[in-house]
C-alpha cells in the first residue's frame, strides 16, 4: 500500500530519536508528589479530599470543575499534606495536592495484573463511564478529556477513528516505545473506541521512520483479529501528528476553519490515549501513569531513558534519578522541540500529558539575531495550513486585525514550521500567536452578539 501524507506544507527536521532503543523503565516512587488540578484542557478540577486524609493509589482526589474537565486520581498511597498554590512549569501558581508517599497500596477494584483482556464490553455507556471516571484525557498534546471527544454531539457521526502513532516531533520516543512494548493493548484500546463511535472504521497511522513499530503493530493487529482496524504507513513529515494534518493524510478531507474534526466525520486519538483507554476500560485503572522520554542533544547515549512515571512526580526528581541535568543543557523542554513548552521551573511536577524532559544545548536552541525578511517565501511553503506567515507578521505589527482575520490568522496551529524554516530568524510565530489571540477574541465577541 502506498505511503500517505498531508498535502500542504510541512518541514523535515532531523529525527534525533536517540532514545528509541531504550526500553521503558519504571521510576521508583519519590517521598512526596504534588498533583496539579490543571492536567487537562478546560476547567481545573476541584479537590475532594481534605488535608490529613489517607489516600490510596487510584483513588479520586479531585472532581471535574466543569463540562470540559476531568477526574484526577491519587498516583500514590499516602497522606494528603497540603492543598494550595504551587508553581507549574511556566512558573504560574496553580492549585496542587501534596501527598506524602507511604507504601504503594492501590484502591479496590483495579486490576493490576498483566493478563490481556481481549473481550470488548458491548455497552457503550459503560465504556464511556469507565473512561470518564478514570480521568482519561488525550495524551497527544492537547489533553482534551477523551470521553467528551468520544461522545460527539447528536447529529454528527464518526466515519473514521484515526489513532495517531506518527510521533512526528523530533527526539520524542515514548509513543514509539509503547507501540513496541504494548502493541496489543493499543489495538484493544482502538477497538474499544471504535465500538463507542458506532463501529466506524479505524486507521492507525505510523510514520515510515519507525519500521519496527509498524511491524509490531501489524502483527498485534493480525493476531487479535478485530474488524475494521487498519495500519497505514505515513511518509515522515512534520507536523503529521497535527489533528488537521492527520485527517488530511488519512481521509483526504479538510476540516473547515473553526470547525471540529467531527464535522468531517473524524475522531483523532493518540496511541498513548488508546493505551490509557485500555487500562481504564479493561482494567479499571485510572490514568495516573504515562511514559516520558529523557533525551536531548547534549546527553550521552547512556543517559537517555524512557520512563513510566506517575503523575505528580517533580521534574527535578526525575532529572536527578536519570543522572542530573547535563552541564551543557541551556534549555529544558517539556514536549518536543517544535511545540513543547520551555521549562521555567524544574520544581514543577509531571502531569498526565507530560511526554519528555528534553535537554537542548545553547548552540541548538538559542535564537540567532533577527535579520531583514528577504521574501523567500519559505515560511509560506512550510505552513501546513497554507497561511502566509510573513504577511501575518506584518499585519500584526501594523495592528490590522481585520486583515489578519481575512488572511486566516485564527487558523494557525502553532506548529512552528514558519519560525523553524525562516532563514532570517524572524520570530514569526511569536507574533502570529498573539495575532491569533486577537482575532479569536474578535470572533468570540461577534458570536456573543
Amino acid at each position: 500500500m502506498s505511503k500517505i501524507t498531508f498535502p500542504i506544507g510541512g518541514v523535515h527536521p532531523a529525527d534525533s530519536k536517540f532514545a528509541a532503543n531504550c526500553p521503558i523503565e519504571v521510576l521508583p516512587l519519590p517521598q512526596v508528589v504534588y498533583v496539579s488540578m490543571a492536567q487537562h484542557l478546560g476547567a481545573p478540577a476541584k479537590p475532594v479530599v481534605e488535608v490529613g486524609a489517607e489516600v490510596k493509589a487510584g483513588q479520586v482526589i479531585a472532581e471535574p470543575g466543569g463540562f470540559i474537565s476531568a477526574f484526577v486520581h491519587s498516583p500514590v498511597s499516602g497522606t494528603v499534606k497540603s492543598i494550595g498554590p504551587r508553581k507549574d512549569l511556566a512558573g504560574n501558581n496553580m492549585t496542587h495536592i501534596e501527598i506524602t508517599v507511604q507504601g504503594d497500596e492501590w484502591a479496590e477494584g483495579i486490576d493490576l495484573s498483566d493478563t490481556l483482556v481481549t473481550e470488548i464490553p458491548q455497552d457503550r455507556a459503560f465504556i464511556l463511564e469507565r473512561i470518564q471516571k478514570n480521568g482519561v484525557v488525550g495524551l497527544g498534546g492537547a489533553t482534551f478529556p477523551t470521553h467528551v471527544k468520544l461522545n460527539p454531539a447528536p447529529g454528527s457521526k464518526a466515519e473514521c477513528l484515526i489513532i495517531n502513532g506518527a510521533e512526528c516531533e523530533p527526539f520524542l520516543t515514548s509513543d514509539y516505545r509503547i507501540m513496541l512494548e504494548s502493541p496489543r493493548q493499543i489495538v484493544i484500546g482502538a477497538a474499544i473506541m471504535r465500538k463507542v463511535l458506532g463501529d466506524c472504521p479505524c486507521v492507525i497511522g505510523i510514520e515510515d521512520n519507525k519500521p519496527e513499530a509498524i511491524k509490531t503493530m501489524q502483527a498485534a493487529n493480525a493476531e487479535l483479529g478485530y474488524d475494521g482496524i487498519q495500519i497505514r504507513i505515513m511518509k515522515k513529515k512534520y507536523p503529521q501528528g497535527g489533528e488537521k494534518q492527520l485527517i488530511a493524510a488519512v481521509m483526504g478531507r479538510e476540516v473547515g476553519s473553526g470547525a471540529l474534526p467531527i464535522s468531517v466525520g473524524a475522531v483523532v486519538q493518540n496511541v498513548a490515549t488508546a493505551l490509557a483507554v485500555y487500562d481504564a476500560v479493561q482494567k479499571n485503572k485510572p490514568l495516573v501513569t504515562n511514559t516520558l522520554t529523557i533525551t536531548g542533544d547534549c546527553l550521552p547515549q547512556s543517559a537517555m531513558h524512557n520512563y513510566l512515571f506517575r503523575i505528580g512526580m517533580p521534574l527535578s526528581y526525575i532529572a536527578e534519578y536519570a543522572g542530573g541535568v547535563p552541564e551543557k543543557a541551556a534549555k529544558l523542554i517539556s514536549g518536543g522541540p517544535m511545540m513543547g513548552k520551555a521549562i521555567a521551573n524544574l520544581d514543577a511536577c509531571t502531569v498526565k500529558g507530560s511526554s519528555s524532559i528534553l535537554y537542548l544545548s545553547e548552540a541548538a536552541t538559542r535564537r540567532k539575531p533577527q535579520q531583514n525578511c528577504i521574501r523567500c517565501g519559505r515560511c509560506a511553503d512550510a505552513c501546513p495550513m497554507g497561511l502566509e506567515p510573513f504577511l501575518l507578521n506584518r499585519l500584526y505589527k501594523a495592528g490590522d486585525v481585520e486583515a489578519l482575520e481575512q488572511n486566516a490568522a485564527q487558523d494557525c496551529i502553532e506548529c512552528g514550521c514558519c519560525l523553524y524554516s525562516c532563514p532570517s530568524y524572524i520570530p514569526l510565530l511569536d507574533n502570529i500567536r498573539m495575532a491569533k489571540g486577537q482575532v479569536m477574541g474578535v470572533i468570540r465577541n461577534r458570536n456573543k452578539k
Binding site: S257, K331, A364
Partner: protein, 320 residues
C-alpha cells in the same frame, strides 16, 4: 546552566540562513564566471572583481555609517548583486563605470528603500539599465578581449540580437544553435554559455533555493510567442531557439527574475510574473528600439509584484 533559557516554541531551527542562501547563489554563478574568464581573459576578471568588491564595500559602508546598524550588513547578498551586475556588463567597461553601477545598485536601488529585502527593483538590473542610459557608448561596445581559450569563430562588434535588430533575419542566418548553447562569443559575461548558467540553476533547484516556476514560464512564453511569430512570417521574425539561446534571457530567467525580494511569493503569482516578462521581452526584441529587452522586462514586472502578491495566494487548508 545557571539560568534556564525560556522562549516560545519552536526551540530548534533549520540550518538555513540568509547568508547560506546567498552563498549558494554565488556557487551557482561559478560555472558561468569560469567560462567568461576563460573566453574573455583578465579584463573580464577585473570587471567581476570590481563589481563584487565594490558592492560589498558599499553595503558595508552604508550599513555601518548611514544605518549605524552592523547587524543589517549581509555581505553575501551584496556579493550576488555585484557579480550579477558585472556579468551584465561588456567586458570593455571601464572600472570606474562599474564602480558607479555598484554605487547605484547598492546605494540607490537597495539601501534607499531600507536595505536587504526592502528594495522594489532588482539592484543589478536597475544599475545595468542606469548605466545603459548614462553611458551608451561604453555599454554597447562589444569588443571581445583576448581570453585563455580562443574561439575560432569569434566575432566582435555586435551581439546576435544586435545584428538581428540592425540587419533583420539575413544577418543571423545559418546560426549553429548547438554551439550557441555551449558558448556564444559577443555580449556580456552572462551571455556566453547557456549551459554553464543552466548548470548553476540546476544546482539552485537541487538545493531548493529557488523554485522552477518563474524560469519555466519565462522560457515557455518566449518560446510560444516566437514560435507563433516565426510561423506567421519566418522571413521577419526569429524563431524560438534563437530567442531562448541568445542575449541575457537565460541569465535573466535563471538568476535575475528569480531574485526573492523582487519576485512574487506564490507559485501562481510567479507564473504570471514569468509570462509578463516573457511577453515584454519578445515585444521589445521584435518591435522595440533596443535589441535586447530582458532587463526592461524584469524591471517592469518588478513593479507588478506587490499586486501579484495581493492577488495570488496559496491554497489554505480547509478553505476554498
Amino acid at each position: 546552566m545557571d539560568r534556564l533559557l525560556v522562549s516560545p516554541s519552536p526551540h530548534v531551527h533549520a540550518k538555513d540562513s540568509t547568508s547560506r542562501i546567498m552563498g549558494d547563489v554565488c556557487i551557482a554563478l561559478l560555472p558561468a564566471i569560469v567560462v567568461s574568464v576563460l573566453f574573455y581573459g583578465w579584463a573580464e576578471l577585473l570587471v567581476l572583481a570590481v563589481g563584487a568588491v565594490s558592492c560589498v564595500a558599499f553595503e558595508w559602508a552604508i550599513t555601518k555609517f548611514l544605518f549605524k546598524e552592523e547587524g543589517r550588513f549581509c555581505g553575501a547578498s551584496a556579493l550576488v548583486t555585484g557579480l550579477l551586475l558585472a556579468m551584465n556588463l561588456p567586458v570593455t567597461t571601464p572600472w570606474w563605470v562599474v564602480l558607479i553601477g555598484s554605487l547605484f545598485a547598492i546605494g540607490v536601488v537597495k539601501m534607499s528603500f531600507g536595505g536587504l529585502g526592502q528594495n522594489v527593483f532588482n539592484p543589478a538590473i536597475a544599475a545595468r539599465v542606469f548605466l545603459l542610459i548614462s553611458f551608451p557608448t561604453y555599454m554597447t561596445d562589444w569588443t571581445v578581449t583576448p581570453g585563455f581559450i580562443h574561439a575560432t569563430d569569434a566575432v566582435s562588434g555586435a551581439t546576435l540580437l544586435g545584428r538581428y535588430a540592425e540587419g533583420g533575419m539575413q544577418a543571423v542566418e545559418g546560426l549553429d544553435y548547438l554551439q550557441t548553447f555551449f558558448y556564444n562569443i559577443g555580449g556580456s559575461a552572462g551571455e556566453i554559455s547557456a549551459l554553464a548558467l543552466l548548470a548553476g540553476f540546476v544546482y539552485l533547484l537541487c538545493r531548493k533555493v529557488v523554485k522552477p516556476w518563474i524560469t519555466l514560464s519565462i522560457f515557455a512564453t518566449v518560446a510560444l510567442i516566437s514560435f507563433i511569430f516565426n510561423l506567421a512570417d519566418p522571413a521577419t521574425y526569429t524563431g524560438p531557439l534563437f530567442n531562448l539561446l541568445t542575449g541575457g534571457l537565460v541569465l535573466g530567467a535563471c538568476f535575475m527574475a528569480t531574485d526573492y525580494v523582487t519576485s512574487p511569493m506564490s507559485n501562481w503569482g510567479g507564473v504570471v510574473y514569468g509570462v509578463g516578462i516573457g511577453f515584454i521581452v519578445m515585444m521589445i526584441r521584435y518591435f522595440g528600439a533596443y535589441p535586447e529587452g530582458v532587463s526592461f522586462a524584469i524591471l517592469i514586472m518588478n513593479m507588478a509584484v506587490p499586486f501579484l502578491n495581493k492577488w495570488f495566494h496559496q491554497k489554505k487548508y480547509g478553505r476554498k
